[in-house]
């Protein structure tokens, strides 16, 4: 029976090739989209879960009071980890490490800028990286040890044994390779190419030894012996600042490592999601697309019911029970789902590189993983069942006497179900069109929003190696200015587009006892405002004519939070230093273009690190200027490869996640529309079949092609309009929620809605007309003859 049914099903599919193609195509696109999205969701979900004790591991966060709320970040003081491991027996390991940063590492004449982390031995215990060479228990204890990842070891030494070889770090320190470890999985939040010891960090940065609790400069990770002590440890962490640092309002908390990546947003000291929100959207999207592909299948199968009705009648008349018919139809849809899955496979393999490029991820189909096959088989069966169930129950319900006599007026009820299904598809498609349009509007809005400086022609180079010396840095600046490559240049203590390096220990006239805000804290030179292309709102900029070492320039946002009536001339305190405000500059966007500018305090001088910000000479072309910059850099700082960053590029990079969402919405919205159109095509086929006689009679009575077309298309237009009307509020709610997380956002206008309705109508009309023109032009006699 099964064999015969399979044979019949295959014959059936082969006989109706067009129908099979539409169905398999629709299912394949649906399945491929679903699989890709699920693959991505699974990848994101696997973040930081590759170590054995990940579920007992926590990242220490600090909540700082700022204004009415609090800001949270995973930066802590270096003295926290030793304190924790010595005072809390529930904690198995507590490690302090730096965040990954690019440093120069050279093997004789080969130099590389790669990401390195300073860490302690506990770090290796918590993140149990497999050591390929070397002893894990002895590693990272001496100041001059270094552990390389396998990939980086290969880059440095090729096939030679790297153990005990010497490397030069930062052009100064000599380090000995004491181990080679496996590469860090791509789904790890901490990405590095080599590990160095915390001892080295202390040696290079002597200030570390003297830091107090309030100074957040490293990452602290703890591993509990047992999760049952979580409450106890967390409660103790909450008061750790209060106990150790008099007068501190900060609160520490521990956040599970497994949630670090997905739940990274904090509001008022509480985790409020993060990437997980996007992931949820993707998850829902995955199943919605699969669902509309299934709906398609239902529509097309039931639309062809007239052709199958006779078969059902005959089978019942020769003794088939309903059950066996249901299983036959389910079998057919399983077969189609299976074919769809094969095509989906090809689609996935083809699109995976593009998708990886888009998401900046390393997704692969892991054929050796049983879970992959389980999901695959499960998804195929699920699709086959969902898609096949309605047709199976519908078709098998035919009464043999009626269908054998001639299948005429039974379409009414099933037609309305089909209509509902098509409306559902178009609600989804229209909503996606609207959301995509708003996402793009928002993106353009933010990109074109004034940032407070001129991005074009603004570049920066990091100050590394010998340039960490003030005289060399100024020499570079002067040489560049003299060469004519740049028109303005200023040292700045941090990259112009990055956040961080902030302080709350600021005092100002009239400050209330409980007022506390976070200020960005930077060093710059006299030419700073001109280099940025910004202007002063009042007062003056630093100038070589004055001694500005005890003066400061602040931005408008800082004036606002301090509530200063006459800012210029006021004296503020940072730590214990008195600074006189000499000028107020216009706000400019630093780290987050979606928020109002953070209060900023700039001092005159040099912090021994940061960047040289430069405005390229507008009088000559960019490549000449860049070449000049590079040759001068080579002269002054030959050890380091020159990297010139265009501000417009790094600014653009801040929109990556919105761009990604836009691109994905575009793609999957496109798929949804496409699949919905296939469904519509199915419905038209059915309608045409149903109304063949009516149309023929109308034509005999004198209707022309246009009349018939209007008649046929009217119903579909109605469906699409209804779908749009339902989609409008749905999309409005969804997109409004999405927009609400942005401080600066576009007003939702009627334009996206207009786009959605016009676009969906046009596409629907086009699809429907392909079929209805054929019907309208058919010879009426052909249809009437068989009545």
């Amino acid at each position: 029976m099964f064999k015969l049914n399979l044979k019949i099903a295959i014959r059936n599919l082969w006989k109706n090739k067009g129908y099979t193609l539409i169905n398999v195509g629709g299912l394949a696109i649906g399945l491929a989209s679903c699989m890709l999205l699920l693959l991505y969701v699974a990848y994101e979900w696997s973040y930081d879960k590759h170590t054995t004790g990940y579920d007992r591991t926590y990242v220490v966060y600090t909540n700082m009071k700022s204004g009415d709320g609090a800001v949270s970040y995973a930066w802590t003081s270096g003295i926290m980890a030793p304190y924790l491991s010595s005072t809390m027996p529930d904690i198995a390991y507590a490690s302090h490490s730096t965040y990954p940063r690019e440093y120069l590492l050279s093997n004789q004449d080969k130099s590389f800028k790669k990401f390195g982390v300073y860490a302690d031995p506990s770090f290796l215990k918590i993140f149990d990286y497999q050591m390929i060479k070397g002893n894990k228990d002895q590693a990272l204890k001496s100041p001059n040890g270094i552990i390389l990842t396998e990939r980086f070891a290969k880059v440095l030494f090729g096939n030679a044994d790297p153990m005990n070889k010497t490397l030069k770090f930062g052009g100064k320190e000599l380090l000995t390779v004491e181990g080679v470890m496996e590469d860090v999985p791509s789904s790890s939040s901490i990405q590095f190419d080599y590990l160095m010891s915390w001892e080295l960090y202390k040696k290079i940065n002597p200030w570390v030894a003297g830091t107090g609790w309030g100074n957040g400069h490293c990452l602290t990770v703890i591993q509990l012996r047992d999760n049952s002590s979580f409450e106890k440890v967390n409660a103790s962490m909450n008061t750790i600042f209060k106990r150790n640092d008099k007068g501190s309002t900060a609160v520490a908390l521990i956040h599970p490592l497994s949630k670090w990546h997905l739940y990274s947003h904090f509001e008022n000291g509480k985790s409020v999601g993060g990437q997980i929100d996007t992931l949820r959207i993707f998850f829902i999207l995955a199943f919605c697309i699969l669902l509309i592909a299934c709906i398609n299948f239902m529509n097309l199968s039931t639309a062809r019911s007239e052709k199958r009705a006779k078969e059902v009648g005959v089978r019942k008349a020769i003794g088939a029970a309903r059950k066996s018919l249901i299983s036959q139809f389910i079998l057919e849809s399983m077969l189609l789902a299976f074919l769809g899955m094969i095509v989906a496979f090809i689609l996935i393999e083809i699109s995976l590189p593009y998708f990886n490029g888009l998401l900046n991820s390393y997704l692969t189909l892991n054929y050796a993983d049983w879970k992959f096959w389980a999901v695959l088989v499960g998804l195929t069966l699920f699709t086959g069942f969902i898609a096949g169930s309605y047709p199976a129950f519908y078709l098998s319900s035919f009464e043999p006497v009626k269908v054998l006599k001639g299948f005429s007026k039974t379409g009414g009820a099933s037609l309305s179900i089909r209509k509902v299904l098509v409306i559902f598809q178009f609600v989804f498609a229209s909503s996606l069109i609207i959301c995509t349009a708003v996402i793009y509007q928002q993106l353009t809005f933010i990109q074109n929003k004034p940032v407070g400086y001129d991005r074009n022609g603004l570049v920066e180079i990091p100050l590394e190696g010998v340039l960490e010396d003030f005289s060399k840095a100024t020499l570079l600046r002067d040489r560049l200015l003299k060469s004519g490559a740049v028109s303005n240049a200023s040292l700045f203590s941090l990259s112009l587009t990055s956040g961080g390096n902030n302080t709350t220990t600021v005092g100002w006239p009239g400050k209330g006892p409980n007022e506390s805000f976070i200020f960005n804290y930077r060093y710059a030179n006299s030419d700073f405002v001109a280099t940025l292309g910004s202007t002063m709102q009042s007062g003056r900029n630093f100038s070589p004519q004055f001694n500005d070492s005890a003066n400061t320039v602040i931005n408008e946002a800082a004036v606002k939070v301090m509530g200063l009536k006459k800012p210029v001339g006021s004296v503020i305190q940072i730590d214990d230093r008195q600074l006189t405000i000499i000028g107020v500059m216009k706000n400019f966007v630093m780290d987050n273009p979606y928020q109002t500018a953070t209060p900023l305090i700039i001092r005159n001088g040099f912090a021994g690190e940061g960047v040289l910000a430069m405005r390229l000479n507008p009088a000559q072309n960019i490549s000449t200027s860049i070449a000049q910059v590079q040759s001068i850099m080579k002269e002054i700082n030959p050890e380091y490869p020159t990297s010139v960053t265009f501000l417009s590029d790094s600014f653009e990079a801040k929109f990556n996640s919105e761009k990604l969402l836009g691109t994905l919405a575009n793609w999957f919205g496109g798929f949804a529309v496409f699949i919905s159109c296939l469904g519509l095509l199915g419905l038209t086929l059915f309608m045409a079949e149903q109304r063949k006689k009516e149309i023929s009679i109308r034509k005999v009575l004198g209707a022309n092609t246009l009349h018939i077309l209007t008649l046929l298309n009217k119903d579909f237009i109605k469906l699409v309009v209804i779908a749009n009307l339902i989609a409008f509020p749905v999309a409005y709610i969804v997109i409004n929620k999405w927009l609400s997380k942005y401080e600066f956002r576009v007003e939702i206008s009627f334009i996206p809605f207009a786009i959605a309705i016009v676009l969906s109508l046009l596409i629907a009309l086009f699809t429907v007309s392909m079929q209805s023109v054929k019907v309208a032009k058919a010879n009426p006699v052909d249809a009437l003859k068989y009545e």
């Binding site: 015969l4 078969e311 005959v314 089978r315 020769i318 029970a321």
Partner: protein, 229 residues
């Protein structure tokens, strides 16, 4: 074998009952060859469908081989139907996607006959109907008469005790029609299969042993046929 008591069938439309069958009572014995005749709309096909359990009467009693059909549940009824009834249609109603052999085999599948026996029974029937050479053809590759032969072969393969035929020769030319009727007669006489056919043709009816004349849903006449042929 079949006892009908007071069978009624009507459709209620806006409170008005339109009767198809009224007070139909009759008895058909094992081995009879009954022809149901009457003008269009007399209720012939409905009666046949009720006999074949494809339709239910609105009212009345129907006893098939000692079982009260109307009180049986769906499963039992299908069981009874599978084992005893073979249906032959005017429009043949073969399944287009199946070959001749597969069409004939289909009822056996639903009867859950074992594979080996299915093969031998199908081969047997094909042989009897001289269609071995055509067994791998599809219905649309056959003439009308041949298709109806396949239809009858399909009805016979399950070894039914009764064959219900709804104008079996209605779509055929007279020569082919005669061939089919000869086959029916042979089956009736040699294998003792009960046959009930609906027909318009006096010639066809003459092959049978008894004629039921239906008019407006009522049996007007029930006559035995003189065996003259």
């Amino acid at each position: 074998m079949i006892i009908l008591k007071n069978i009624e069938k009507y459709y209620a439309n806006k409170g008005v009952k339109s009767y198809i069958l009224r007070h139909v009572s009759t008895e058909i014995k094992q081995g009879e060859f009954v022809s149901i005749m009457g003008p269009s709309g007399a209720g012939k096909s409905t009666l046949l469908n009720i006999l074949g359990m494809l339709e239910e009467p609105t009212y009345g009693e129907y006893e098939f081989m000692g079982e009260d059909v109307l009180s049986l549940n769906e499963r039992k009824r299908i069981e009874l139907y599978r084992n005893h009834i073979g249906f032959v249609f005017q429009a043949y109603h073969l399944i287009d996607e199946m070959t001749v052999a597969e069409n004939i085999e289909a009822p056996l599948l639903y009867k859950k006959v074992s594979g080996a026996e299915r093969k031998s029974r199908v081969a047997d029937v094909l042989d009897r109907f001289n269609m071995v050479a055509k067994k791998d053809l599809f219905p649309n590759q056959l003439s009308g008469g041949q298709q109806q032969l396949v239809g009858i072969a399909r009805a016979l393969v399950a070894q039914p005790s009764i064959i219900l035929a709804d104008e079996p020769t209605g779509n055929l030319q007279s020569a082919q029609a005669l061939q089919i009727m000869d086959l029916f007669k042979k089956l009736n006489e040699e294998e003792g299969i009960t046959i009930i056919q609906v027909t318009h043709s006096e010639v066809n009816a003459a092959y049978g042993s008894r004629i039921l004349h239906l008019l407006d849903g009522v049996i007007k006449e029930d006559i035995a046929v003189e065996q003259s042929v």
